[in-house]
């Protein structure tokens, strides 16, 4: 209408059209860049699976490409809408900074409480509590290991302290020094140490620590503490092991100063020189600090889940001393050594018993003291059979959970209770070259259940019992020895995945969400095998070799041992850590529902959020603004004439309509957009638009009601303009049908990793119960077709991605039918039993063949 009026003022009209064309051009560019970003994210996430070799140049290029594309998306958004987005730019700058920090191996310290109780550490990020405490929290929460009571002073607290006393700035001075500046380096480091030790703690911090201490005194009758470093990043614990300080036997009133002493060890001249030698900025570093009740130790020690001196043997090595374990860890006292079989019942294969004249105990004052060991006990073994068996079982459980051989510190208190104090990957000699090749001969004797089916999305080797997932919700609780086998790689399995030993699916892709979660938790995973749920039976014992993509029946000990012995898992390489940490600032999507109040620029925390927000906001500007609601030949806006009463406007970004479609009104035959065509064909197919539930062969049920009810519901609304924004491969469809609002956003190419469908359904005029029945029905249908579905109340959001073009077409046809089917469904869903009936009807009405065919296409 506006353009029509402007026709009298041709210059102004020309200007308006030019402006609209510019906005449309920017929107095209936005869609293209948006897809580019999604493609880069998918590729980058795939690199974490271990199949690819990449280096730091790749990470740099990736960061540059992503940054450029995301900034272009935001720029395009400002052109499309004519609005500035200061909050979005702020969010983008923060994500940029996190990615830059990851590339520099710097640690961005997340905002957190100063102090977190150890029993709440289970899910905290290592960036907050450090690696040592994260592992301790995990074995406590996941495996039920007994660990000392305690709390963690977070990295946030540490950084706050360093900032307050100006240490961060002085540390930059340290960064400018090199290996040649030996003396200067050491002096500068010592000055920093002094400053940390002598600092007055920020009041909030000292109060939080004291509160933590008081709680432990009160609730656990704890009178002495162990204050331990818990390092973050920079290869973490594995390479900085033993470099940072631990203070034992700390009295309650000295915990704050012990905390400072431990933090000061960040600048110990040895540590600083070590950093430098490893090519790390010497002054950087941040840690969390664990403050644990000191267990009054009767006996303490270390257990290695493989004996580093003879890794070929199937043994654990246990070292034990009377009293506290410091002598065992530091190797400067008389200790007993036991070689224990890994196989149950964990017999003692060999032992050497030392004459243990003294032992370390917490002194009556602060610190430790040496006490004489009772003469009768000196030459007695510090631990015996049953305790060794208990230790072996616990250590092997931890090893299975951590997926590599472990070096574990433990202690037994005066009541005979076993505590785990620390666990970390055990360093072992490199396997012999060619070991894997020899293995290929050995493994031939094991029956193969799956061989080279589908693709590996996370490399690794694991053993477990098959659990075929029937009920996704129930898969939340799986034991660590479970191999999850599922039909689809639905993100709903993510909850159970972290505890599983491996995951195998019939469908799905290595760029899907679940694959990304598997890589995050390092769970070996094979997807798209087509037949796993048929071949792998519930309860069968299998070994999953997600290195060679083979699944064996039974326990292939040789393979499992090979996996345990690998010197360093690829995930521990600095480049993998960097990529993982970059992806945290890039890939997670928290803005899921555009209608939710938190769908704002300020809520964006990753690149993915930013492009999602930009894409959605641009679409809204186009669909709700004046741009498209007025048809304009100059913009290529067309009306689609359909054999059903649906008013649909099409905006072609390029290749979505035939070149011949010059008229303002075009037909389905003119539609060349790959996603729109099948959806429309199905929506306009015989019986679909008319297919109210009653007509779907429900034995006449409700048929009279159907006939007497207007199609748009009891109070028909004014027809709203419906819009399809298309290109040859893209479709954004907004349909307001009566009181329902459907959105389909989809991308369809021959590259399956780029393909996705996002479907959203909301609205409805009926009462809440019927609406939620309708949501339940939609959810059930979408899940049958492998969509990941979420939503609350009346809202249903379904997503599917990484599937083949054939599957995409089948899914879009299904959605075409679903849109027709649900137009007024809520009006009929009078009670819950009808949900199941309509579901069956829908599935019956859609030819089953189209589903089966689509899966073949995924192969």
């Amino acid at each position: 209408m506006i353009l029509g009026k402007l026709g009298f003022l041709s210059r102004r009209k020309a200007q308006t059209v030019a402006r609209l064309q510019e906005r449309l051009g920017s929107f095209r560019d936005l869609v293209e860049k948006n897809d580019r970003v999604l493609e880069l994210i998918a590729e980058a996430s795939e690199k974490l699976g271990g199949e690819y070799i990449f280096d730091s140049h790749y990470l740099q290029t990736l960061a540059d490409d992503l940054r450029e594309a995301v900034h272009a998306v935001v720029h395009d958004l400002t052109v499309v809408t004519g609005e500035p987005y200061p909050e979005l730019l702020k969010a983008l700058a923060a994500a940029d900074a996190r990615i830059r920090a990851a590339l520099d191996s710097r640690i961005i310290v997340p905002e957190a409480e100063y102090v977190i109780p150890l029993d709440q550490v289970g899910t905290a990020s290592t960036d907050v509590v450090g690696e040592k405490m994260a592992r301790l929290g995990a074995i406590r929460a996941r495996l039920g290991c007994r660990v000392p009571a305690g709390f963690v002073v977070t990295t946030h607290a540490c950084r706050h302290l360093l900032d307050e006393i100006g240490a961060t700035e002085s540390a930059e001075e340290l960064d400018r020094l090199g290996e040649d500046d030996g003396d200067q380096l050491a002096q500068c480091a010592k000055r920093l140490q002094q400053r940390v030790r002598r600092a007055t703690l920020p009041r909030g911090l000292s109060r939080a620590i004291r509160r933590g201490v008081t709680r432990l005194e009160r609730e656990h009758r704890c009178s002495r503490f162990a204050v331990r470093s818990s390092a973050v990043g920079e290869d973490g614990e594995s390479s900085f092991a033993g470099q940072y300080k631990t203070v034992l036997g700390v009295e309650p009133e000295n915990v704050c100063s012990a905390f400072q002493e431990v933090v000061a060890s960040l600048y110990d001249p040895h540590v600083v020189r070590y950093r430098l030698s490893r090519g790390l900025p010497p002054g950087r570093g941040v840690m969390a600090v664990g403050c644990l009740c000191l267990v009054p130790a009767e006996v303490s020690g270390v257990v290695y889940t493989l004996n580093p001196a003879s890794v070929e043997d199937e043994d654990l090595l246990v070292v034990a001393a009377r009293g506290l374990g410091k002598v065992v860890v530091e190797g400067d006292g008389a200790v007993d050594r036991f070689t224990v079989a890994r196989q149950p019942p964990h017999q003692v294969v060999d032992s050497t018993i030392a004459n243990k004249e003294t032992m370390l105990v917490a002194s009556s004052g602060s610190g430790l003291a040496e006490d004489p060991v009772d003469e009768k006990l000196r030459e007695e073994p510090a631990v015996r059979g049953p305790r060794l068996r208990e230790l072996a079982e616990m250590a092997l459980r931890i090893e299975r959970y951590m997926r590599c051989a472990q070096d574990i510190e433990w202690t037994v208190d005066r009541d005979g209770q076993l505590f785990m104090l620390q666990t970390r990957p055990l360093k072992l000699p490199l396997p012999e070259p060619g070991l894997r090749d020899d293995l290929s001969e050995i493994v031939k004797q094991y029956p193969v259940l799956l061989n080279n089916r589908g693709e590996v999305s996370c490399r690794g080797i694991a053993h477990g019992t098959v659990h075929v997932v029937e009920d996704v919700e129930a898969a939340e609780k799986v034991s660590p020895d479970t191999v999850l086998v599922a039909r689809t790689a639905t993100p709903k399995l993510a909850g159970g995945l972290s505890a599983a030993s491996a995951v195998i699916t019939d469908h799905g892709s290595s760029t899907g969400h679940l694959s990304a979660v598997a890589r995050e938790f390092r769970v070996p995973m094979i997807v798209n095998t087509q037949i796993a749920t048929e071949v792998l039976e519930d309860g069968v014992d299998v070994t999953v070799d997600a290195e060679e993509n083979v699944v064996y029946r039974g326990r292939v000990e040789e393979l499992l041992r090979y996996e345990l012995r690998r010197q360093s898992l690829f995930q521990d390489k600095p480049e993998f850590r960097m990529l993982r940490s970059m992806l945290h600032a890039i890939a997670p999507l928290s803005l899921r529902d555009p209608q939710a109040p938190e769908f704002t620029a300020a809520s964006c925390s990753t690149y993915h959020d930013v492009i999602r927000f930009a894409h959605e906001t641009a679409i809204t500007a186009l669909t709700e603004g004046e741009l498209v609601s007025r048809s304009s030949d100059a913009l290529g806006v067309r009306r689609l004439a359909l054999p059903i009463p649906l008013d649909l406007t099409v905006l072609d970004l390029g290749g979505g309509l035939t070149a011949d479609a010059k008229d303002r009104v075009v037909g389905i035959d003119d539609v060349t957009s790959r996603p729109l065509r099948p959806l429309l064909e199905e929506l306009t197919a015989d019986g679909v638009w008319d297919t109210s539930p009653a007509a779907m062969d429900l034995n006449g049920f409700m048929s009279s009601a159907t006939r007497s009810t207007p199609l748009t519901g009891p109070a028909a609304a004014r027809p709203e303009p419906n819009l399809a924004i298309v290109s040859d491969r893209y479709l954004h469809l907004s349909l307001r049908l009566g009181y329902h609002f459907n959105i389909v956003d989809t991308y369809l190419t021959e590259t399956r990793n780029d393909n996705y469908v996002h479907f959203r359904f909301a609205g409805g005029v009926t009462e809440l119960a019927r609406r939620s029945r309708r949501a339940a029905l939609l959810k059930a249908i979408l899940e049958r077709y492998d969509f990941a579905v979420e939503g609350t109340g009346d809202l249903v959001i379904g997503r599917i991605k990484g599937v083949s073009a054939t599957t995409m077409v089948a899914r879009l046809r299904m959605l075409g039918r679903l849109i027709g089917f649900t137009r007024q469904l809520d009006i009929f869903l009078r009670d819950d039993t009808l949900v199941e009936r309509y579901l069956e009807d829908f599935l019956t009405a859609l030819p089953h063949a189209s589903r089966a065919e689509s899966f073949k296409g995924d192969g």
Partner: protein, 132 residues
């Protein structure tokens, strides 16, 4: 028993060396890794390798220099050049000097292994011809 295939890997990024060694050794190859090109060249002067996998751009002698050295001194050795994706121009230059194949970073272990296998077969064939 057949002698194992000797592979020399040269890349200034330790992650590339370590992961290739881990993978190729486990596949039965004998792999030596170098992060400095001059050291790799010195080693090539001492010992015959079936296959050399080298990065293109490094401090000191470049991947091209290594290739030229191999072509002059180690007749039947086959060279696979790793390139970053912006380096294809100099890579093409190398093509004319008798490189066996290229692989562009990031690359999959499967792709590389297939190339190494083929290169090793060619190296052995040529070597057998050289020494009747």
């Amino acid at each position: 028993m057949k002698r194992p295939v000797d592979v020399l890997v040269l890349d200034d990024e330790s992650v590339v060396c370590d992961r290739l060694k881990d993978h190729l050794d486990n596949k039965g190859y004998h792999t030596e890794i170098f992060e400095e090109s001059q050291r790799a060249i010195d080693r090539l002067a001492d010992k015959w390798f079936d296959v050399v996998i080298t990065d293109l751009r490094m401090e000191g002698p470049t991947g091209l220099d290594v290739l030229h050295f191999v072509r002059r001194h180690c007749n039947s050795t086959q060279v696979i050049i790793i390139t970053g994706y912006a380096e294809m121009d100099s890579a093409r230059e190398a093509e004319y000097s008798g490189v066996f194949d290229f692989v562009t970073k990031p690359f999959s272990l499967k792709t590389l292994e297939a190339k190494v296998k083929k290169a090793a077969r060619k190296a052995r064939r040529l070597k057998d011809k050289e020494t009747p």
